[in-house]
Symmetry: D2
Subunit: 405 residues, 4 copies
Amino acid sequence: MAQPQQSDGADGTGAGKPPLRVGMVGYAFMGAAHSQGWRTAGRVFDLPMNPELAVVCGRDATAVRAAADRHGWTDTETDWRALVERDDVDLVDICTPGDSHAEIAVAALAAGKHVLCEKPLANTVAEAEAMVRAAEEARGRGRLAMVGFNYRRVPATALARRMVAEDRIGALRHVRVAYLQDWLVDPAFPLTWRLRREQAGSGSLGDLGAHIVDLAQYLAGERLAGVSALTETFVRQRPLPAAPAGGLTAVGSAGTGEVTVDDAALFTGRFASGALASFEATRYATGRKNALRIELNGERGSLAFDLERLNELSYHDATEPAAHAGFRRILVTEPDHPYLDAWWPPGHGLGYEHTFVHQARDLVHAVAEGRAPEPSFADGLQVQRVLAAVEDSARKNSVYTPIAA
Amino acid sequence: MAQPQQSDGADGTGAGKPPLRVGMVGYAFMGAAHSQGWRTAGRVFDLPMNPELAVVCGRDATAVRAAADRHGWTDTETDWRALVERDDVDLVDICTPGDSHAEIAVAALAAGKHVLCEKPLANTVAEAEAMVRAAEEARGRGRLAMVGFNYRRVPATALARRMVAEDRIGALRHVRVAYLQDWLVDPAFPLTWRLRREQAGSGSLGDLGAHIVDLAQYLAGERLAGVSALTETFVRQRPLPAAPAGGLTAVGSAGTGEVTVDDAALFTGRFASGALASFEATRYATGRKNALRIELNGERGSLAFDLERLNELSYHDATEPAAHAGFRRILVTEPDHPYLDAWWPPGHGLGYEHTFVHQARDLVHAVAEGRAPEPSFADGLQVQRVLAAVEDSARKNSVYTPIAA
Amino acid sequence: MAQPQQSDGADGTGAGKPPLRVGMVGYAFMGAAHSQGWRTAGRVFDLPMNPELAVVCGRDATAVRAAADRHGWTDTETDWRALVERDDVDLVDICTPGDSHAEIAVAALAAGKHVLCEKPLANTVAEAEAMVRAAEEARGRGRLAMVGFNYRRVPATALARRMVAEDRIGALRHVRVAYLQDWLVDPAFPLTWRLRREQAGSGSLGDLGAHIVDLAQYLAGERLAGVSALTETFVRQRPLPAAPAGGLTAVGSAGTGEVTVDDAALFTGRFASGALASFEATRYATGRKNALRIELNGERGSLAFDLERLNELSYHDATEPAAHAGFRRILVTEPDHPYLDAWWPPGHGLGYEHTFVHQARDLVHAVAEGRAPEPSFADGLQVQRVLAAVEDSARKNSVYTPIAA
Amino acid sequence: MAQPQQSDGADGTGAGKPPLRVGMVGYAFMGAAHSQGWRTAGRVFDLPMNPELAVVCGRDATAVRAAADRHGWTDTETDWRALVERDDVDLVDICTPGDSHAEIAVAALAAGKHVLCEKPLANTVAEAEAMVRAAEEARGRGRLAMVGFNYRRVPATALARRMVAEDRIGALRHVRVAYLQDWLVDPAFPLTWRLRREQAGSGSLGDLGAHIVDLAQYLAGERLAGVSALTETFVRQRPLPAAPAGGLTAVGSAGTGEVTVDDAALFTGRFASGALASFEATRYATGRKNALRIELNGERGSLAFDLERLNELSYHDATEPAAHAGFRRILVTEPDHPYLDAWWPPGHGLGYEHTFVHQARDLVHAVAEGRAPEPSFADGLQVQRVLAAVEDSARKNSVYTPIAA
């Protein structure tokens, strides 16, 4: 035990509050993380509605029941179409691979549900456009849609956004971003669904690149105008998984199959303001496990963040006298840091999963207040357009490719 | 989303498992953290029993009801004596200030409950001795007792313990530990219960020092033989809090009161093996928010940990050729790291509160298997004896003071 | 004082050794650094020849005499043509801006001198080609030429090279490099010669980019095949310097002049082996003073270096069990690290200028042994071709541009 | 090459300046470092006198001649008594083990020389007192004496001192200091003179502890009032060195000898102001090569330094709003940092040996201006008294022991 400032809200959680009944589709990694978010948000934050883990959906009845018990969901479904039609579901939370996002989201919005959709919004721009149209139409009926770029909700990135908005770094010159993982370095790693274009849409680009494109634009407060890109698939044949998991149909001959997505994507770009950006997304950065790193350099200061040290934000204030200036490590655990008033005393750090608690919190507030949540489906579409431009540029010998508006 | 290795257990949580009904006394900072632990453990780990947040106890009926709603407890009590007698409580979790630990724990054990008691075990050695006797007696009746030194359950410290046990650092030479906070630097910070000897027992010594004494001995795998100590109270008068919170009776004149505990405690010591140790516990280390730092140097290697970067363990392997040796930063998020098989993919860090999830997990296993959990009340008593020796030494001009056996 | 291992060589420095008489052209920043190198190398290392600071050359007689006295040169010249013809000069060290490198180097080689030429080798590929031809011809007459990419001679980068050569990181996947400075962030910084194409050749590209292209290829042990680039000049008009220093003729009207070089250059590329590379060179990275950072990821490991912490090399050994693996910080101060046997005991770090001491040491050995030193003029030309491809690509909408062979 | 701000002084070095003729006794590790200092100071700084490496002294004529050639000394002596009497020596620089400091220094001062004496000032308080008396008497004759606590002259520590003097950290609460090395971890390391009390005086205490006591008091701007200490010798018998080097007479039987000094010393203390201090000096901190670390916590801020990253100073400004506060890493390479106006552009770091260049610079200024240099022999004596109190306390069961005034 350490410090006494922590005070618990005194009003209780569910008592007398309207419920927000969630139906979640998919229950693997993202489903587990979202479950933590929905289950915890109202225990920590004083929310205007009471999130309920109403129904979880998966194709295998036994498995989905076990997942429901494990993660705390009351009921189960084996067909997402049934789930989106249930009267006792207010919000559909889509945690499936990207190839099913559009169909589920459009149906859920049509059925009058709010929708939270995992990133990337879709596997293609066309799907994403359909989703945006559905979201706009639903908005007229008071239904809200949000895409799950959870890394906006790390307290340190939210603080970075606040500091940029306060003009603490001034005119932006550079944004450099990398999302480095290493789980494909071993050529014996099997050919999972994430390595097949038909399910995953793309490789590190959609998985990691989508995150960093969204985060870079969010922190910069402006959008990319164009990109120039290289992509590469280092290991083109991989062993098939022991059992076709997650719906992957066996492909290729003799126990191996073709990797049909990128292993790594590098791109440079220009922001609308003229600032330069560099991006790298890879699963081959040996020793880097989840190193999402972003740095912004402006005329008045700089900000830097590394997801592997997610409770810290690095800040350089260039308006200080040079003799005392330096990058400072802000431990983002103070009560006046974003999301932190409800958590622990200073210095008691949060983890990865808390981004999903914060996401749930923010979405509950938006629903209760009838406000459009951010990032919107339109934001998700724009990220998709950046990714499409990256793929276009890579196909066209890296030529600079404007982002479609 | 990032990596596909994460698989969810398939057996569900509560289904068919015996319950472990918890009654918690106190619901402030520690109560909130313990609630998270009890609520989450079975959602993440495949536990042999199903923890239930049965009853929470506090003196104010309205406030405790609100806390119950907030943190997810079913029922409430306003008298801990009633709680420990309830048939529908299997385990009593004591989250009150140290002056009530002994009375509640002894009563709960006598009433046939398992007990989890927050650290420090008690405010005096005599109280702690009574608790150990009660625990030993209850052990004969199959009831278990554990003290809540949660920092043993950071994956990085648990990994450090495993590596020491594997003899990776060899004969121990040095342990240096500091627990640095800064929330008392401002002389205007009010006189809370933590600054009064009658409730808190001691100041930074019992609050922070207890943690580092336990952690140092746990990681070293051996006990301190004696200590030499300095303590200090830098600010001796502080303003009284606006309202006498937490049972603090107003003391002193004209709106200020006397600080009757130490602000900082420094001590050196010798381990049984002859290794040297240095300890520092303070609430005046400006800019250090929750910096529990420990380093062990052995003949074959070294280990270092900093709670402000709790997902990392630093390790130097001195058996490597000097040309390639160096302190390595192990990101303690791999599946074969302690507790990590149930969490997220590599690189997706945990936070402070997860220590309480792990504590709940370990205690549930111990109860289900009838094993004595660690750290035991005897361990807590021994820490208390170290703290008593520290206070003795400080009173006696820092003379080296053996730890009572 | 700290450790006893340090032993001084017993043979003395100059006694009986042949001299290597150096004539240096230019005496500003680089001249000062080279002077330190020549003056110190034989005091620390046991060299086969005795470097003598014979003559320094500058246009202003008074200023060059003062510089000679300050930096320890015996004689002076005001015309480099006179210097290269002197019989008492064995080696010409060129520390002028890039626009004069080719002329001086070609003349010096023709005059039978060895040549050390600061980087970048030249301002154009054509000049560099002429220099390579001159160097090849001189080689036949036993005269040697080297280009001064001093960052190969940081002990940590030399160790990295050795570890790559030992195949410690395996098949290369990624190289990411940035050279970040911030001295142009202020729009009021004056228009020095470095911001004019006619003298500097290019901006951050030639100044910083040349360093990182060379270092990346050196460490990778292979060459770039092609690049795709963006360049930018953020501030296009700057105030003229108070006095036209370094030969800059005033340009522009009313006290300002045009910046005719790039402020920043971003490029991606492919190595011959298929590894991907990303490069960034900028003088607008607020708060980054001299942050040359390079990371290599291979199938068996990774290496990382940051010039702002130049005594450290970061190494991840991916062949270790995951439970104990991590980036280790090698303090590159051990006797069996490159260059370190002659310096201080472990942990006593070196600084920036020591790269020039090591450069002098290596060149003296090459001259004494009649071996071609590295990096050669051909290496410098190849870097120039990469920079030319960067500029080509930037002009052509970032299209991927192969490096001329 | 990087930045153009560097300008060379225009006045030259030796021309017309009075010489300061140095005679150095001893030429091992410290002698090499001092040689670098004397040789370089006037090449970098614009000094009022011209240091000349006049004479170096050692017992073996051949070896000292070789050392003179290596390090650039003109003449040699084999008897320090002859050296201190030479008319062509103005300043005697004592780089021998501590047992000869007093005799040489007293004789040199009596002979009318200025004296620079390596730390620790002496092996006993009595010797140090005699040296102070000699220095005071010589002061009347215009002769100056300084003790070589070179770590005051790291730019980062000098900046820290300046910031403390500017009251940037306010009322001091804590100083924690450790000097960690590991070169004795291996029990097979031989019994050198540093491990014998008769030559070294003490072990890590005098070697490392002297440095940190001086640095702590220097940075704090106040003195220790008392200490409580533990010392330990972990390995009591070590193999004798192959050849009796440095005057060590073989001791012990059968090829091993007794270690008669401490391996490690831990002590806590109180400053005059009531601030607390903790110290640790050891040669058994596996993996720590030269880790002199100091942190000061005051009511308004904190400062931290680590010699293994000597170009950095860490600073926390507690007067900042908590939301933006954090320890900042000041890269101490700016022109307005101590000593830095004469060196390289920002970001181009210095190394260990530069402390000796700065020491030479400061001493030359003091001599030229007739000012008493710091740290004085009296400062060195006071450090010796602290070390004596540490040994006293360690002998007396760690009892708190006031420092003699």
